[in-house]
């Protein structure tokens, strides 16, 4: 049974009975989630879970601590409150700790779809069966996931702040494997009707067929067309640096670069939880309303996001991007929307004399935190382009590429779309054509 706002408020009222703290906050969550996983053309893992959590933050004499439980009975609520109080009392005070925020006003976002919340394992299995049938038709082997679920979250504090959000989630991703190649496609949405699993299966199968018997190419600098999933998995490693605390503590690549022209003039990015293709709650980990924030305008680092505590420390205004306290990170933009262009991926291919089309990237890691050099591999569909046409699949390559340089070398962009990868959170991003993308080695498949 998913949590209702009324039930969450009742739990918080119980908590307040036991709390002797100066201030008390509760984050109460509830989840029902299921995932059907397939590989080798069978369903091999099929799971469901339900559960909830009560996470209590207390402040005593400017000392803060958090304790959590997954039990909502009265004894557990009391025990968790006492645990938080005990943790708080045994530490030195933080003279900079702010009082908790008072009541806030939130703009509603509707991201709960009953059909998605009620999707059955039988319905997921029927869809998977159709996708497997599609794979067999092409002599391919299918692997992937079809998941669905819902969660609810209430955030309340003793200063009268109350916030509640409920949302559904769904995901379909598929890898089609041939003898010497593979293709991949994925989509996520709060509404399972938008997933279109068979369309994704077709796309993955086309990529697997088209990249059969991949050839080796020499590492070096290439013009690449990065499909949206590849773009977002790279950008995920950049936007954690757009936090006010990261810059204040000089652990961000934007240290000394805010207000400067860091990227190409065609790069515009904002954080916008209210975008129709985005997901998530309209409030942050302290219950502050999320604001739209322009991060990059015409290549200039225009703004960064601030939690209340960071804003106070740095003389800025909070933007509603704080993570639940206490934490080391401060804040992060989690609803990236990047403006795109008008060029389709097909048009980008036609305009490319010599280059590569990249479906997806894998195992991306940061090599250098200030130059923002990332390394990683291509995966599941990398194609050679010559004279404006896809020629053949190529063996996967390792890249070492500075994100700062890359976003100064973007030649074309597609209209943005909600994209999902495996390395970072979902974003609304375009496909890109990038010149001089740097590959250092290749692998054996």
């Amino acid at each position: 049974m998913i949590l209702t706002r009324q039930h969450a408020e009742e739990i918080f009222a119980q908590l307040l009975k036991y709390s002797t703290a100066d201030e008390t906050e509760a984050i109460i969550t509830s989840t029902a989630y299921a995932l059907t996983r397939f590989a080798n053309n069978i369903i091999h893992q099929n799971v469901a879970e339900e559960g909830g959590s009560l996470s209590v933050r207390v402040v005593v004499d400017r000392r803060m601590a958090r304790a959590s439980t997954n039990k909502f009975d009265e004894a557990s609520i009391r025990h968790t409150c006492e645990a938080a109080l005990a943790l708080a009392r045994h530490q030195p005070p933080d003279p900079e700790l702010l009082p908790m925020p008072g009541p806030q006003t939130f703009r509603g976002v509707r991201r709960f779809h009953q059909e998605t919340a009620q999707l059955t394992p039988q319905a997921r299995a029927e869809t998977v069966r159709r996708v497997i049938t599609r794979a067999r038709k092409d002599g391919l082997t299918a692997a992937g996931v079809f998941s669905s679920g819902c969660f609810a979250m209430g955030l309340f504090n003793s200063r009268g702040l109350g916030a509640f959000h409920e949302e559904t989630v769904s995901e379909f991703s598929v890898t089609m494997l041939g003898e010497s190649s593979s293709g991949w496609a994925k989509k996520t949405s709060p509404n399972c009707r938008e997933l279109q699993p068979e369309v994704l299966a077709d796309r993955a199968a086309r990529k697997a067929r088209g990249s059969r018997e991949p050839r080796e190419i020499a590492p070096g600098k290439y013009t690449v067309i990065l499909e949206p999933a590849a773009v977002l998995d790279l950008l995920g490693y950049l936007f954690s640096d757009f936090g006010g605390l990261a810059i204040h503590e000089k652990r961000s690549c934007l240290t000394g670069r805010v207000g400067q022209q860091v990227f190409g003039a065609n790069i515009n990015v904002r954080d916008d939880v209210y975008h129709p293709r985005q997901s998530g709650a309209p409030f942050d980990g302290e219950g502050m309303p999320r604001q739209r924030v322009a991060l990059i305008e015409q290549g200039v680092v225009k703004g960064v996001v601030y939690a209340r505590q960071t804003a106070h420390k740095t003389g800025a205004e909070p933007t509603g991007h704080g993570l639940p306290l206490p934490n080391e990170i401060g804040e992060a933009p989690l609803n990236i929307v990047m403006e795109g262009g008008k060029t389709s991926v097909q048009e980008m291919v036609r305009s490319t004399e010599r280059g590569l089309l990249v479906t997806r990237l894998w195992y991306i890691r940061e090599v250098d935190p200030y130059q923002k050099i990332l390394t990683g591999m291509t995966r599941d569909g990398t194609f050679r382009i010559e004279d404006g046409k896809l020629q053949h699949g190529v063996k996967n390559l390792r890249f070492n590429q500075s994100m700062i340089e890359m976003l100064g070398q973007v030649e074309m962009m597609s209209p943005p779309e909600r994209a999902a990868g495996e390395e970072t959170f979902d974003m609304v991003v375009p496909a890109m054509q990038v010149r001089d993308f740097s590959f250092s080695s290749l692998t054996k498949f």
């Binding site: 989630y33 059907t36 996983r37 397939f38 080798n40 053309n41 069978i42 369903i43 893992q45 099929n46 799971v47 469901a48 879970e49 339900e50 559960g51 909830g52 959590s53 996470s55 601590a65 958090r66 959590s68 439980t69 039990k71 943790l87 708080a88 045994h90 530490q91 030195p92 933080d94 394992p121 039988q122 299995a125 998977v128 069966r129 082997t141 692997a143 996931v145 890898t175 593979s182 991949w184 503590e249 652990r251 080391e328 195992y363 991306i364 940061e366 090599v367 250098d368 935190p369 200030y370 050099i373 591999m377 995966r379 390792r398 070492n400 250092s440 080695s441 692998t443 054996k444 498949f445």
Partner: protein, 461 residues
């Protein structure tokens, strides 16, 4: 399963995170109509348990819509047992104020060194109590306590961020033991040295690009083992179960007993038994009720063993699971996971190894790690390195990276230090599966040398 965790950290002179969490719940895994189903709940009432069991069966019946043949499991015997991992000092019994005092002392030592712009220290405790019961009649009760501790100094200067971690990156060292680990690490005593190294890196030479002999410190070698041996030997990856996410493996079945994985001095074991030490992969029984085992993986360089489950053992005709099925928590199914995948020690000291190296780089403490989805092509970066010329350390190097192909790399190993230099490292953050699971794994290693490896490639224009 009942899990309790406590996480305490400090940053630049103040407590950063002071929190704990408890989670109690039940997971039910079934085979019905020859297919798998799993359901988990935190509702432990009679009705809640009945409903969850029925849900697992319903899910298994849905799985049966897409199956080729009925699930078949390698036989196991019924076990009724109880095991409590050794823990001399319960970390949850140590006052929070004592823990924070220690972290703040480390913090002060780090920030005493001019140029350190960020000091972070952490203590991380986990206690799990688990009852496994199966329709085979097994009843296995296991209790484990894990402790983690470490710190990081960061320095920003000019256009460079440098970082040093102790005793390892990813939060430090983690083992299945109590608070006694913290005393063994001497965090306060090591802080000045690490802080000074952090700042010195700004003045150091850039690690050159080219082909060199490299010596890896034991913590970095632990991660090298994890990524380029531990993951490839997971039989579920080999058989395609992870094809859509974590990927597959180059270790296809015909390579078992045939592939020269490494040079003749490379001997690797996957050992979950308590005799191997207090690793994060140490237990008495896995989450299918299979006793912990020591599985030879590489013997004299030859590939001889996979990590298996009851189901995958049958798939390759082996009589028994190697006992490597592990679940992160009550709401996750067990998957084939690394236990303690360790490189057997050789002989000699690190000093002797350096003295016998003519032109090389010694690299320590991981900074970046990446490997392809079949585990061939890897690239690692470390926090710090030292140039070796004529058997001597000649200068400090910053931003070291090295890259290679797994089997070529392990076949280039020509020296491994002895038991006195061997450490059983804990990797607390190994991700796998959908929904994602994070698992702790153990990796014993002593410093080792690899001949003619590509270095500096990540910074090469």
């Amino acid at each position: 399963m009942d899990i309790r965790q406590r996480y305490l950290s400090t940053k630049n002179g103040q407590p950063a995170q002071v929190r704990e969490a408890e989670s109690l719940g039940l997971g039910v895994r079934v085979v019905a109509e020859g297919a798998w189903g799993f359901a988990a709940t935190d509702d432990l009432s009679r009705a809640g348990v009945d409903r969850t069991a029925a849900q697992a069966v319903s899910i298994a019946r849905a799985s049966a819509l897409c199956r080729k043949r009925a699930v078949s499991l390698a036989p196991e015997t019924r076990v009724v047992d109880r095991w409590v991992a050794p823990c001399r000092l319960d970390p949850f019994s140590v006052p929070v104020s004592t823990c924070l005092d220690l972290l703040l002392k480390v913090d002060a030592e780090l920030r005493r060194v001019e140029g350190v712009t960020l000091a972070e220290a952490v203590l991380d405790f986990r206690h799990s109590e688990q009852l496994f019961v199966s329709s085979l009649g097994s009843e296995i009760y296991q209790v484990k306590t894990q402790t983690g501790a470490g710190f990081v100094a960061t320095s920003f200067l000019g256009n460079e961020i440098q970082r040093r971690s102790y005793p390892n990156s990813f939060g430090g060292q983690f083992q299945t033991k109590g608070y006694e680990l913290v005393a063994e690490l001497d965090l306060v005593g090591q802080a000045p040295r690490i802080a000074e190294q952090t700042v010195a890196l700004h003045r150091a030479a850039q690690c050159p690009s080219g082909v060199k002999d490299i010596i890896l410190g034991s913590a970095q070698l632990g991660l090298q083992i994890h990524e380029s041996i531990g993951h490839p030997i997971e039989l579920d990856r080999v058989l395609g179960s992870e094809a859509n996410y974590a990927g597959m493996s180059f270790l296809t079945l015909e390579k078992l007993g045939q592939l020269q994985y490494g040079s003749s001095i490379v001997n690797v074991v996957a050992d979950a038994t308590p005799a191997h030490g207090p690793g994060l992969g140490t237990f008495a029984y896995d989450d299918e009720g299979v006793p912990a085992q020591a599985t030879p993986v590489i013997q004299d360089g030859l590939f001889v063993g996979y990590l298996t489950s009851r189901e995958t053992a049958v798939a390759i005709g082996q009589p028994r699971s190697s006992g490597a099925m592990r679940a992160e928590a009550w709401n996750r199914i067990p998957l084939i996971r690394m236990t303690n995948v360790s490189l057997r020690p050789g002989q000699g000291t690190l000093e002797e190894l350096i003295a016998s190296t003519d032109d090389g780089v010694y690299m320590e403490t991981n900074r970046s790690w990446s490997i392809d989805d079949r585990r061939y092509n890897f690239q690692f970066g470390t926090e710090i390195g030292w140039e070796i010329k004529g058997g001597k350390i000649t200068r400090l190097l910053k931003n070291p990276t090295y890259a290679g192909i797994t089997t070529e790399f392990w076949n280039s190993c020509d020296a491994i230090c002895g038991p006195e230099a061997w450490t059983l490292w804990g990797t607390p953050n190994c991700g796998k599966g959908q929904p994602p699971q994070t698992m702790g794994t153990g990796h014993g290693a002593a410093p080792a040398r690899f001949r003619q490896v590509q270095v500096g490639v990540a910074y090469k224009d």
